[in-house]
Amino acid sequence: MSEVSEIIDTEVSSAQDDGILTEQYLTFIMSGEEYGVDILAVQEIRGWESATPIPNSPKFIKGVINLRGTIVPIIDLRQRFDLAEIEYGDETVVVVLRIYTQNGTRTMGIIVDAISDVYDVPIGDARNTGMGDNQNSNFIKGLVTVNKHMVILLELENLLTIED
């Protein structure tokens, strides 16, 4: 994991200084597409380890893990998006996110295929998806083009809310 944090470090320090306000996004790969999450919400990145399943929970909830004494639920993002399931491998990582909701902070982990990069995205640059009102569009904050390819920015609060 040290490699990953190095990437983050260098990118953060080389943040653009040309007067444009930017937000930083950590991106990761899932079945060929690149997704981004607000880097300020990322608490840590760790390797996959097995979780304790929760009875009668939705399928995409892989269970809970012990994160230094805190019980943290883990979501499989592929299953959350109804993508094909894959075997967890060496590159499979868990991005632990901490988000602020009305009910206080909430810590959750998402399983992704692999970590990609950190980008500076000018504020307001994200385009609306215009995908209509399907289940997945709720989780998407917008699309942004970085180095000529598309990055999907995720709306974490919706993504990490588990309805009853």
Partner: protein, 686 residues
């Protein structure tokens, strides 16, 4: 430079709440016939410092209100006015009122002064009604006096008898007289009474031997005078009487030498009384998010951390150049580490422990209020107030206890006349007791009232369909019915009602704390409720069980027994639900892997283990694969980052770092559908 006073507001509120609690407790303890001077002093001091604080912070409405209260208290304190039930009630209501004002201030809401205003008028009525002090047996028309008393009619007569040490406290009588002169535009006469002066040789120049008589010839407000003398009321005897009847002055003036003597005795004896240690500590019932920890507990923690550090460095050294010959030292070190850790854990847990008096302290008031409103005579006895229990448990046990105590008074204790007719003492007794028993805290609520009426309960339960007609229930089973959710309905018989109202809620609240409640009762002798609670909510004695690949934890308290089936005592009811015949009972069976959707290969039930658990008086048998060890587990919240899960009360971390879920037995029972079952006596092959 101005100081931002608001930073002290919180401290003021906390002190005031403590003061109010002290006042309340003092008032309740007060013997109306022979009031203890120390108790009255405590009450007075609390009111006095609250008034001072409120004035300092500019909370004028609180200050004004406490002022009238204080005036009345001062008269009682100095023996000028006798304590009465009416005054006690009024003072208690004003404690509530001040508490309300404080809460208003704290929340920054607009103060609602209607209550305060009403009470203030009542106080003023009392204060003006009987002119205090030596004005003996004067029956004056009340209307007239109240007007006169406010403004003093044509003026006031003030007799100012300072203590000898007045000057040493930095007070200057002349300055006060000047203020008084300003207040009445100079229309006053002052005369000095020198009878206290000793012979010149034995005179101490620092003592104030003089006594003044002041006659104010202008109708000014009594409160103006009070304010001027406010700082010296503790150091002087001040007798203020309205002018009008000239005889009043005479009466007061004449017996000067005699009048002073007894008063001095009184004031002198006060400090002696003050030194008596007060038996009741002012307890605060407020549920704050911070706790006060005694310094001993902190010190012992620091000691233990010190030991832990030593052990750690010892182990560290051992690890640096370790070879197999030193394995024994390593083992010793590890044993010591374990010892240290356990002690540390215990002490950390102790920090959360607080004496149960925090809950108990609110009951005297409750008992008093309820018994007055019901016209019953009740004596509340409390013991074991120092028993400690976890703060969280304590916060949640208050309401169920209030309910039980109310029930005891309302429905347990009979009316005084009935009690006498039954050959009992007129005053009923409600006893509260708390003690530790094998890792639990036990709270008992006992009354010597009428006891539970088993016939009535049974009849009611049959009417409500909880019990089949003609069922043969044991006494315990009948008592248990009062905790059934459906037991209390609208048309409950009056003398029985309430014994069932909300009792299911009481039991549920207690069960939510992993506790239990039992009742025993004897007709005509009284009833006894026993609540058992775990000492802490943070740690649970758990039984680890395995289902498939998963490990779950059952709270040990709810396990009745665990059995391995060897013969065919399983019966099938209606196709899919199984029941187990357990001696004289039929117990529904739940497969944990089914109910929790755990991937598990089916194995014959004879190879499984059935854990029989009990909650709310209902038993279910839970089928699991294996029983693992028993251990204490630290409860972690699952809701914090996820949400509530049916059948699970929390999670914990096992020795290997993995997470195991703790089974919530009552929720599991509901999920299994077993709770819809009607208790039917004929099911029990008794």
């Amino acid at each position: 430079m101005s100081i931002d006073l608001s930073q002290f507001h919180q401290v003021f509120y906390e002190e005031s709440y403590e003061g109010l609690d002290a006042m309340e407790q003092g008032l309740l303890d007060l013997d109306l016939v022979d009031p203890d001077a120390e108790v009255i002093n405590t009450i007075f001091r609390a009111a006095h410092s609250m008034k001072g604080g409120a004035g300092t912070f500019g909370f004028t409405h609180v200050a004004e209100f406490t002022h009238v209260l204080e005036t009345l208290l001062d008269q009682i304190r100095s023996g000028q006015r006798a304590m009465s039930q009416g005054i006690q009630n009024l003072l208690l209501t004003s404690v509530d009122c001040i508490r309300g004002l404080m809460q208003g201030l704290q929340s920054g809401a607009e103060a609602d002064l209607t209550d305060a205003h009403d009470l203030k008028q009542q106080f003023e009525a009392i204060l003006s009604n009987e002119t205090p002090a030596d004005v003996s047996d004067e029956t004056i028309d009340t209307n007239q006096t109240s007007v006169e008393e406010e403004t003093g009619g044509s003026g006031w007569h003030i007799r100012f008898i300072p203590e000898l040490t007045l000057l040493q406290t930095g007070n200057e009588p002349v300055r006060m007289f000047r203020q008084l002169a300003d207040a009445c535009d100079g229309q006053m006469k002052i005369s000095v009474d020198t009878t206290r002066l000793p012979v010149f040789t034995s005179m101490d120049p620092e003592m104030c031997y003089l006594v003044w008589e002041v006659q104010v010839d202008k109708a000014i407000d009594r409160s103006v005078i009070d304010e001027i003398f406010e700082w010296v009321i503790d150091d002087a005897e001040i007798i203020i009487t309205p002018l009008g009847e000239s005889s009043v002055i005479k009466e007061v003036v004449e017996p000067v030498p005699q009048a002073i003597q007894p008063k001095e005795e009184k004031t002198l004896s006060k400090p002696v009384e003050k030194e008596k240690p007060s038996t009741k500590q002012p307890a605060k019932t407020q549920e704050s998010s911070s706790i006060r920890v005694s310094i001993d507990k902190v010190d012992s923690l620091i000691n233990m951390v010190g030991e832990l550090v030593i052990t750690q460095s010892m182990l560290g050294q051992l690890g640096q150049n370790f070879d197999i010959t030193r394995v024994q030292r390593l083992q010793e070190g590890l044993a010591q580490l374990e010892h240290n850790t356990r002690e540390l854990q215990e002490s950390v847990m102790k920090i959360r422990m607080m004496p149960i008096s925090f809950v108990f302290s609110r009951f005297p008031r409750l008992v008093r209020d309820v018994s007055i409103s019901l016209d019953k005579k009740i004596n509340l006895e409390m013991s074991g107030e120092n028993t400690e229990l976890d703060k969280t448990v304590m916060e949640k046990i208050g309401d169920p206890m209030v309910h039980l105590i109310r029930n005891s008074i309302d429905h347990g204790i009979e009316m005084p006349a009935d009690r006498i007719a039954a050959g009992k003492a007129e005053t009923g007794t409600v006893k509260l007791d708390a003690y530790h028993q094998s890792g639990n805290i036990v709270i008992e609520i006992k009354d010597d009232g009428a006891g539970l009426n088993t016939d009535r309960i049974l009849q009611k339960a049959i009417e409500n369909g909880l019990v089949a007609e003609g069922a043969n229930l044991s006494q315990e089973q009948i008592f248990d019915l009062i905790f059934q959710p459906g037991f209390s309905t609208a048309d409950v018989v009056s003398d029985l009602s309430g014994r069932g109202v909300g009792m299911d809620v009481v039991r549920r609240n207690i069960a939510a704390l992993n506790g239990s409640i039992e009742v025993s009762s004897e007709r005509g002798k009284g009833s006894r409720f026993v609540i058992r609670l775990p000492l802490t909510l943070a740690i649970l004695d758990g039984q680890l069980v395995q289902v498939g690949k998963e490990i779950y934890i059952f709270p040990l308290v709810s396990i009745v027994e665990s059995i391995q089936l060897d013969d065919l005592s399983i019966n099938n009811v209606g196709g899919h639900s199984d029941v187990l015949q357990l001696r004289d009972e039929y117990v529904p069976i739940v497969h944990l892997d089914d109910i929790f959707n755990i991937a598990n290969e089916k194995r014959p039930i004879e190879e499984s283990i059935i854990v029989v658990v009990e909650t709310d008086g209902e038993k279910i048998g839970v089928v699991v694969d294996e029983l693992l060890g028993q251990q204490q587990v630290v409860i972690k919240s699952l809701e914090e980052n996820y949400k509530r899960v049916d059948g699970i009360s929390g999670a914990t971390i096992l020795g290997d770092g993995t997470v195991a879920l703790i089974v919530d037995i009552s929720s599991l029972t509901k999920m299994s559908g077993a709770s819809s079952k009607i208790i039917d006596g004929s099911h029990k092959a008794a």
